[in-house]
Symmetry: C2
Subunit: 243 residues, 2 copies
């Protein structure tokens, strides 16, 4: 039990929830470590959405809205942290929701699909195939899911898979708190923000942007600007917090 007088109470409660999800198999052991990495970068963001990330979320909405076949790829951590937010974004964007895991077992896939369904998502399931040119379980996806997509939203993705999806000609939207990660640098668009804060912002923008605004935002997209702004935001906190 976490003491209520602990100064990092909220953060510890989220950690305990993730640990619970690891015990039940939703989150992998390595997923817990990834969460810690995210926590560190979020700390450097002041645990709030920057203006830059807010603009990136609007561009993400524009990409999803102008896609022919948008897919939201969900892994264990995303499902554990943000199943409801995924369901909300699906409703706002009309995207397919598909489970893709780094540490893949049929049981974990079923467990995560069921968690998403309980949260109100309409999950695209069925037989997966080894369709991506990657070693490891990351190669698996569904022919009529991520494989066919023109725009893929990958919250909390592995850098290799992100790169392969871009090479396949897809537009990839990443949500990644580390602006220096391979995922962040490889994606078409990176929202440097915490996933439960970013997803509702994308959903909101999906509902409010006009078709004309969507086209403009997509045409002007330059991911390097978003990464640079995030890096500067974090660097400022690191160099001034200790004055």
């Amino acid at each position: 039990m976490i003491p209520h007088d602990h100064p990092r109470y909220q953060s510890l409660v989220t950690r305990e929830h993730l640990a619970e999800c690891a015990r039940s198999g939703i989150v992998s052991w390595e997923g817990l470590i990834s969460h810690g990495r995210g926590e560190a970068f979020d700390y450097l963001l002041g645990e709030k959405t920057s203006d830059s990330a807010r603009r990136a979320a609007r561009v993400a909405a524009a990409l999803l809205r102008t896609a022919r076949y948008p897919v939201i790829s969900v892994n264990g951590n995303t499902a554990a942290l943000a199943a409801r937010e995924i369901a909300g974004l699906q409703k706002a964007s009309g995207a397919l929701v598909e489970v893709n895991l780094f540490h893949r077992t049929p049981e974990r896939v079923a467990q995560i699909e069921s968690l998403l369904c309980d949260a109100g998502a309409d999950v695209f399931s069925g037989e997966a195939e080894r369709l991506l040119p990657l070693s490891h379980d990351r190669a698996w996806c569904r022919r009529d899911g991520m494989y066919r997509a023109d725009v893929v939203l990958v919250p909390l993705e592995d850098g290799d898979r992100c790169g392969v999806l871009v090479e396949m000609g897809k537009k990839v939207i990443a949500i990644d708190l580390n602006p220096l990660s391979r995922t962040a640098r490889t994606a078409t668009l990176t929202i440097v923000d915490e996933v439960t804060r970013a997803l509702p912002l994308i959903a909101e923008a999906c509902a409010t942007l006009s078709a004309e605004e969507c086209r403009e935002l997509v045409a002007m997209l330059d991911n390097r600007v978003f990464l640079k702004e995030a890096g500067i935001e974090m660097a400022g906190r690191l160099s001034h917090a200790l004055d």
Copy 2:
């Protein structure tokens, strides 16, 4: 199994080792998340010891060498990552090695003590008491161990316990990759470096510093300088890596 072609192979191998230690009970679930936070800050250090941390390690050696009753406090993550390095530092410094856990059970304490003994450490064990003014299991320590120490080395410590030890008049040496953490700011001295790199540097300095050098280093100690230098080092990487 981790694919050998993965660009972050070494980091993934360490993660898998920690996950293994979590399965066996040495590392807590929350310990995996803490490791991730450390990884993020180490990434910002370029995964190498800075000149500033190298100087801090010499000051740590001076504190241990000039102590009347130095104690090294070991938790699950430290034992999993650096049991041999702890044994090496004990030999070089003559400090007592004591296991103190945030998530404490008698079984975990015994398991970690046994891991340290196997690595060559001489572990101070025996009955623990609730001696520190803290809620939660963090209050436990041993009367003739951490409670009596004048200098305590706490690698990867919790901020509350670090603060309480300082209030008890002890000199606290932290090894913490996050220069903004409460532990880092509260400790008498913080080495902002990865634990398996920092411990051998302290041991080396214990063996080579003269008594005169030790007194000078302790007299000139200003932890704010080390934290500031670490913050600037990391900020530089964040703001320039994306140019």
